[in-house]
């Protein structure tokens, strides 16, 4: 691991804190679902924390992101409030979307999280449009567009990357390649080794990074963000990672082996980052334990907040369809 050179110790610790918060949020979400406390489905990003945190660490607070159905991590990495997220997850009026969106549609437009979409690839053109808006308004913001390997086979992926490239829009396309589009493995869905190779078709830089190495993700995205902010146009970064949990709650995981999952768990992005920080003397064992514990506590507080929050009022069911 390297690439930490530009990052302060405080920033590195904050990144670790966010990775722990994501892990704790997702584990709690899984548990709440198992307890029957969750109405809908969810898509957990355990094992993919380095991608969300590394990429977003390269942004300014006023930059934008677009997220995906597997978007809890993006929201937390962008500085989202886990109380409001958990309330949304439980469908409460106090949630980010007043309980109307749920796990798949958490958004906080004011803080630059342009939201998660449940349609694979559906957020890619949103990011392109936001980048066009930035270019026209001349604000110097950058848009980070998350999508998965599955989305890279959608027609809208091509339309969007092409448009962003010809207009030199300030957008960074971050492909979270977690090896499966539901059950379809990338090896069967792509004739090429690396999704990032598709960048060549749009004359934009394409880079493959170890998506479980938070600093490698950070370094690659930071370079692309600088380029975008300088007006040099978009980039495509492929983060190779893995989701430890199934696609969603319906997943029996018939398409992969326990051995494969176990092998990826050995590449745990949080453990790797901690080992690095400990080795570099940037973190003590006591601090490490405290950070993990605080993350759990934050999530427990979030659950308490969500559970004690009111349900949306049926009389207000039609509010918010139109502005």
């Amino acid at each position: 691991m390297d690439g930490a050179g530009q990052l302060t110790k405080e920033k590195l610790i904050d990144m670790l804190r966010k990775m722990h918060t994501i892990r704790a949020f997702e584990e709690k979400a899984d548990q709440l679902f198992a307890l029957g406390k969750v109405h809908g489905t969810m898509h957990l990003s355990i094992g993919m924390e380095a991608t969300a945190v590394g990429a977003i660490a390269a942004l300014r607070p006023d930059d934008y992101i677009t997220s995906t159905h597997r978007g809890h991590g993006h929201c937390i990495a962008k500085g989202g409030d886990v109380k409001l997220m958990m309330a949304e997850f439980l469908g409460k009026e106090t949630g980010y979307c007043r309980g109307r969106g749920g796990s798949m549609h958490i958004a906080d437009v004011e803080s630059g999280n342009l939201g998660a979409t449940g349609v694979v690839g559906g957020g890619i053109p949103t990011a392109v449009g936001a980048a066009l808006s930035v270019q026209l308004r001349k604000t110097g913001q950058v848009v980070l567009c998350f999508f998965g390997d599955g989305a890279a086979n959608m027609g809208i992926f091509h339309e969007s990357l092409n448009l962003a490239a010809i207009w030199k829009l300030p957008v960074v396309f971050v492909c979270e390649n977690n090896q499966y589009a539901m059950s379809m493995p990338v090896a069967r869905a792509f004739p090429i080794e690396n999704i990032a190779d598709r960048a060549a078709a749009y004359a934009m830089p394409g880079k493959v990074v170890d998506g479980n190495d938070v600093l490698a993700v950070y370094a690659a995205v930071a370079e692309a963000v600088d380029r975008a902010r300088a007006g040099e146009g978009p980039s495509l970064i492929e983060c190779k990672t893995y989701r430890w949990k199934g696609h969603s709650k319906s997943d029996q995981e018939r398409y992969r082996t326990r051995e494969e999952v176990a092998a990826w768990k050995k590449k745990d992005p949080i453990a790797r980052f901690e080992a690095y920080l400990l080795q570099e003397g940037l973190l003590t064992e006591e601090q490490r334990q405290a950070i993990a514990k605080e993350a759990q506590e934050r999530i427990e507080e979030a659950v308490a907040f969500a559970e004690s929050s009111p349900e949306p009022r049926v009389e207000e069911i039609s509010e918010g369809v139109y502005a």
């Binding site: 934008y64 559906g122 066009l132 339309e159």
Partner: protein, 327 residues
């Protein structure tokens, strides 16, 4: 008052809104130097430059999706889809993204975009360049659907659509682009969701949209010579539509003819007929509600076949006479 064409009225609305609000910009296929497939945006590139009048590749999905993304972040894009038939290529972005964003995000976001698109048959362009697909969009909560029938309405409704904070599908009528009518030079608005009685009458209410308003008015003029006084109501906005004006007219006349070019099955007319049947006007009906609509067939190429695929003036006259047989 000065008379200009429907196409010129739309262009004037675009120009005046772009002059007024720097957040308004245009994007679409061949809208720049070409001026759009129907010449609506001619001259705007020269006036506003390529940053605000943006030619796009043939990428309808990202035209609609990027318009929504730009709208979500403070701009007021007006996107053009060259033919309404091609909105099929943008459906995911319009229906799942633009329309749902506000509600799905708890009412905390807005998507102030307009998607202009020319619709309708009569140009010999056959099955994939002639459709009237407005009912699909009317079916989607979160979208507004506007369909002007006169140059005056086209300008005023487009200005309202651009200033509205919701995604608006603005359906233009190819056959009306060259029709002329009085249009004030200064900017003005025609409110969305307000129908207009285009001709007052006591005997039959015709509810017509788009080019069918023009045909209904022509039919009404001829029917008046027979002593039949037709009232023509143009909803102008199809979603959310003005049920009150329609209901009031039906209560007055007791006879209803609904005319649109789009396919009959599950067309906008089905909604209007159902609304009347469910509402207070039902008890005033003297005759069954009648619909005249496009045949449930792809628009054919042959001139004669194409003519017979959608309602014409003579069909409207016949239908009104048949309604008058009910006493």
């Amino acid at each position: 008052m000065r008379e200009i064409t429907y196409a010129e009225a739309i262009r004037e609305a675009l120009r005046q809104e772009m002059q007024r609000d720097p957040h308004v910009f245009l994007m679409g296929e061949d809208i720049g130097v070409y001026g759009g497939a129907f010449g609506v945006t001619l001259g705007l590139l020269e006036e506003f430059g390529p940053e605000r009048v943006r030619d796009t590749p043939i990428s309808e999905g990202v035209i609609a999706g990027a318009a929504a993304g730009a709208a979500l972040t403070g701009m007021r894009p007006v996107a053009e889809i060259m033919f309404m038939d091609f909105t099929t290529l943008a459906m995911e972005q319009l229906v799942n993204q633009a329309a749902k964003t506000r509600y799905m995000f708890g009412g905390k976001a807005k998507v102030p975009m307009v998607l202009r698109t020319p619709a309708g048959s009569g140009t010999g362009a056959a099955a994939q360049h002639s459709q009237s697909l407005e009912a699909w969009f009317v079916h989607v909560p979160g979208l507004k659907v506007v369909m002007p029938s006169t140059p005056y309405d086209a300008k005023g409704l487009l200005i309202s659509a651009i200033r509205d904070d919701n995604p608006v599908i603005f359906v233009e009528q190819k056959l009306l682009y060259r029709t002329k009518g009085p249009v004030p030079e200064e900017p003005y608005t025609v409110p969305l969701s307000v129908a207009e009685v285009k001709r007052a009458g006591r005997d039959v209410t015709i509810i017509a949209t788009g080019v069918m308003v023009v045909r209904s008015l022509a039919a009404a003029a001829k029917l008046a010579q027979e002593g039949i006084e037709v009232e023509v109501v143009d909803p102008r906005t199809l979603k959310p539509y003005d049920a009150e004006t329609i209901t009031k007219s039906v209560i007055k006349t007791g006879r209803v003819l609904i005319v649109h070019e789009a396919y009959k099955t599950c067309g906008f007319g089905a909604e209007i007929a159902a609304m009347i049947s469910e509402g207070p006007a039902f008890m005033y009906l003297n005759a069954p509600i009648r619909r005249l609509a496009g045949l449930d067939i792809p628009i054919p190429y042959n001139r004669t076949l194409e003519y017979h695929a959608v309602p014409q003036e003579e069909n409207i006259i016949t239908a009104v006479r048949e309604l008058m047989a009910y006493k």
